[in-house]
Amino acid sequence: MKPIPFEYFAPTTVEEALEHLSNLGYGGKVLAGGQSLIPAMNFRMARPGALVDLNGIPELAYIKPTADGGLAIGTMTRDSKVEHSPEVAKRFPLLPEVMPNIAHPQIRNRGTFGGSIAHADPAGQLPAISIVLNANLKVLKKGSERWVKAEEFFLGPFMTVLEPEEMLAEVVLPALPPRTGSSYQQVSRQKGGYSMAAVASVVTLDEAGKCTNARMVMISVGDVPILSAAALRILVGQKPTPEAIAEVAEIAASQEIDPGTDIHATAEYRRHLIRVLVRRSLTTAFERAAK
């Protein structure tokens, strides 16, 4: 057998799961879809002493509209459900654009929306998407609840603000204002593979065509998804010109990222990709916002 031995708990309610996590402390780990955790365990890179399996808790899997026109997505909602949900496509077209890039159909049938965010892979798409869509994350532990902004959730590669006895229960995506456009651009060696670099943008225009908001997040070029300050600073308050977008791309590529070199790409190549992908992503997002 590939993984090391571990204890296994299969709670059927959230309360029961929190009770287990509280008892286990650092010895416990949440098992959501397991499409990243189980490979890591098969390689024995991850060696949790006990797993608390959330798959038997139906109350954690849902996509619900919120009062303000946004959506609340339960942490155990399968990626393929998010990918094919008309509710999601109507409110957040960025999500069905991103989802087909996440591994393969068989993996998305099992992998979960909240699990991917909590896993915090710096090359993962959903942590970055949670930031660019300004998500609020509901974190539970036995007897208490707290909310964390997605942009404050990620601390480093595979590290989040979650304490061992806590779990991510829900992802709330606030409604997007009218005249908002979004775009996801990535370069990877093969479909479904990790990106060498990727950029997600969400921009809003006013009636006169001036930019009122520009959120842009870059993936695989640092320890965590990087929210661009330059996009906001340079674009907001003016009409989005190709020159302004090029300036954002230049600053993002040269100052805002900290790419590494690995078997797939050099740091320099990743900077080049960011320069190109930022331009493509912002240009497309503004075109969509103007429609």
């Binding site: 031995p5 365990m41 049938n109 099992r110």
Partner: protein, 159 residues
């Protein structure tokens, strides 16, 4: 290490077994139940050889623990057809030479069965998308795509 009793329906047959939590579903099917049609390739979710249907949906059996199958239904390639009465997909794979060594074939078949049920007349693009999680090191995929189109025709004629 504590073992757990699981009750799982595989290819319509209910099994009750004692398993260690770390036993992968792929190994459970092959070693405990003797259903060696499910193949094991990379064991980290890349190759797709171990694809089975879990409650009707294609998933990687190497990325699910057997203990998690408790109360669920699993379908393996053994349930697809028999040598006497093959599934249209199996016939089409044979006729179009969509396999050579055959190692990846069970995974392709279990991915494609539900796909053809929801896409009775698929385009080449849809077929390529559907099989992008299955690696074949022999065929170069063209024969597989031809076979899927033929299988779709066969299924349309029969229904």
């Amino acid at each position: 290490m504590t073992t757990h009793t699981i009750k799982v329906k595989v290819n319509g047959v209910e099994y009750v077994r004692e398993v260690e939590p770390r036993l992968l579903l792929s190994d459970f099917l092959r070693h405990d139940l003797g259903l060696t049609g499910t193949h094991v390739g990379c064991e980290h979710g890349i190759c797709g050889a171990c694809t089975i249907l879990f409650d009707g949906e294609p998933m990687r059996s190497c990325l699910i623990f057997a203990v998690q199958a408790n109360g669920h239904e699993v379908t393996t390639v053994e349930a697809l057809g028999t040598p006497e009465k093959m599934h249209p997909l199996q016939e089409a794979f044979q006729e179009k030479h969509a396999l050579q060594c055959g190692y990846c074939t069970p995974g392709f078949l279990m991915t494609l069965k539900p796909f053809l049920e929801t896409h009775p007349n698929p385009t080449d693009e849809e077929i390529r998308e559907a099989i992008d999680g299955n690696l074949c090191r022999c065929t170069g995929y063209e024969h597989i795509i031809e076979a899927v189109k033929l299988a779709a025709q066969k299924m349309a004629t029969r229904s």
